[in-house]
Symmetry: C2
Subunit: 347 residues, 2 copies
DNA sequence: CTGAAAGCGCTAACAT
DNA sequence: ATGTTAGCGCTTTCAG
């Protein structure tokens, strides 16, 4: 069966049906060297004479040789793949993380495997389970699993958790405390003396951190803090929170995230309460829509892309043998973005 | 070196450092059968007596056996992985596609590999190149590569293209023609007699289709059509388009997508032109933000999730040997969503 | 620096 | 229905 060689797309292509790939043996034969030398020429360039390596590369290119990743992985136990698991790519916050992780992978020649858990701890476990054998490292974003489960996985596989602190497991997270302090200061400067926090999902580690940071900061500045919720981290969730706020009105509201904040603003507007004249509203995440709604949202920009990027590159380093048992989380700095949804409190 | 067995997370776990996995040989020995029988028990359950299979499974579970995907792939040449390549997960449109493809993969027990090309045809080629050996099928979303290059890949690897038509290559796409017709009818019903189309990226296949659909529909209904652009498919892009529109004002503007539409509305508002009182604006894609901006955007909902899902499942079917050389694209239906950015033309 | 030989863990004929 | 025997394509000792 004759090979049909096509010039256009990188090397030989076999006629439909027949798919035998060119192996190191083919290259070896054509280059007049032993197969092991071909292998070395690709995986350990230093260990072969420059000339020989050159010739081998040439022949390989001509024959369209491509190393078989599976075969390689079989002996090296390294697949060059990293699994990124998260709840929902459709959430802009996670999308940024994906982008960052993708960059890190590309930089280090890794391939990224994406697993969406759709908020289910069970699914998350299943996905990790399946990915486990195929990847060199795993990055868990806002994991829903128990600390114990996560630690267990970390024991078997290089693992980094994002937006979550698990003692003993490398993690990188958004530095919430200063973020909440900045929000509080911003509000205080505008004259606000009481704040309502609209909480997000109870199970969320991030929600706990935001609440904690806010408590610390308000205490320090002598500001009254109330908490309502939890609500779903969505526009609808924010809307439902307004009735609770209405029970004990405060001049400022800090929402779990931008979506919730937008929901609050909308419901407020619907009942004739003006933002920011009557009440100031603060979001979190600096989601793109925050800039497009009216009024534009005051919010906190988290370095989401960097989160994904450092998470992935740390995981890759771990896979490469970097036993940095320094278990202190890496904390990424945030930035307050003051826009039109906050304003001075009215006498 | 003694093994440390942990009960908590699915089976044995070795002490740090030592990572030897349990193989079919271990299971075979423990179950008192030949290795090949263990293999069969997992890959070809029918070919082994129920009792035996049961015993093998039990032993395997106890030993924490997990098939090595690389080894399996080496003989079967099937990896159980699918590559989804697209420009940008951060774009809500693509995020939905990812979600859909992820679902299809999960349903069929596939693992999804994600590659972001960041709009570069070169990068796209490189990513495909790298994924090629590791996956059973590839899904290309809004590819920037040439038809020839795509066809070449399709010859070597099961491939489905999304949002693009490449003769001879299976594709699934949003059915633009009826979508543009619906937009035109909607506008015509409101009394509009001239429309400006604000074009997206020139290289975009989707842009070409939208323009074509609009031309057909306006011709049919006797409506004047003008075209401005191309502009970047972003809010900023939309803003720049307004000056061109201003040269020959029309009572209605159809934008390449929601982002462009939002940009247009904002710039219009900034110069005192009211939407929809003075001019009606229509977007495309039904991005979540379209509902949150003021005025809420009239747009077209494309079945993005379904796009990803049918794309992936077709690719998987192809990988499984379904030689459906029916090269007619699958066209997915759209839905007009009339909101507040369109209104009757004013006498 | 290069060659020869022995697997990695699994599946796929071929036997029985 | 199960056991035996060869490899899949690559890396890796171990020799030379």
């Amino acid at each position: 069966m004759p090979l049909v060689v096509a010039a256009a797309y990188g090397g030989p292509v076999v006629s439909e049906g027949e798919r035998r790939q060119t192996t190191i043996y083919d290259v070896a034969a054509a280059a007049g060297v032993a197969p092991s030398t071909v292998s070395r020429a690709f995986s350990r360039p230093g260990r072969v004479r420059a000339e020989t390596a050159e010739r081998i590369r040439a022949v390989a290119a001509e024959l369209g040789y491509r190393a078989n990743p599976q075969a390689r992985a079989l002996t090296t136990t390294r697949t060059g793949m990293l699994a990124l698991v998260l709840a929902d790519v459709t959430n802009p916050v996670f999308a940024e993380v994906v982008r960052g992780a993708g960059r890190a992978c590309e930089r280090d020649g890794y391939t990224m495997l994406l697993a969406e858990t759709e908020e289910s701890a069970e699914k998350e476990r299943a996905m990790v389970d399946r990915a486990q054998g195929s990847v060199d490292a795993i990055v868990l974003t806002s994991s829903r699993m128990s600390d114990a489960a996560i630690r267990q996985i970390a024991k078997v596989e290089p693992l980094v958790v994002l937006n979550r602190e698990v003692p003993g497991v490398p993690s990188v997270l958004v530095d919430f405390e200063p973020a909440m302090r900045r929000i509080t200061e911003h509000l205080a400067e505008l004259g606000h003396r009481q704040i309502t926090y609209v909480a997000g999902p109870e199970a969320s580690w991030a929600d706990g951190m935001r609440w904690r940071g806010l408590r610390l900061a308000t205490e320090h500045l002598g500001i009254r803090l109330r908490r309502v919720g939890p609500v779903a981290p969505t526009v609808a969730g924010g809307q439902t929170a307004v009735v609770d706020w209405d029970d004990h009105r405060t001049s400022a509201v800090v929402a779990y995230n931008d979506m919730v904040a937008i929901g609050i603003v909308r419901r407020l507007a619907a009942s004739g309460v003006r933002v920011p004249e009557d009440v100031s509203v603060v979001g979190f995440d600096n989601t793109p829509v925050g800039e497009l709604v009216t009024p534009a949202l005051t919010t906190v920009a988290a370095p989401l892309r960097a989160l994904g990027e450092t998470g992935a590159s740390n995981a890759i380093a771990l896979a490469a043998g970097a036993r940095s048992r320094a278990t202190d989380p890496i904390r990424l700095p945030t930035r307050l973005i003051a826009r039109a949804s906050t304003g001075p409190v009215r006498g």
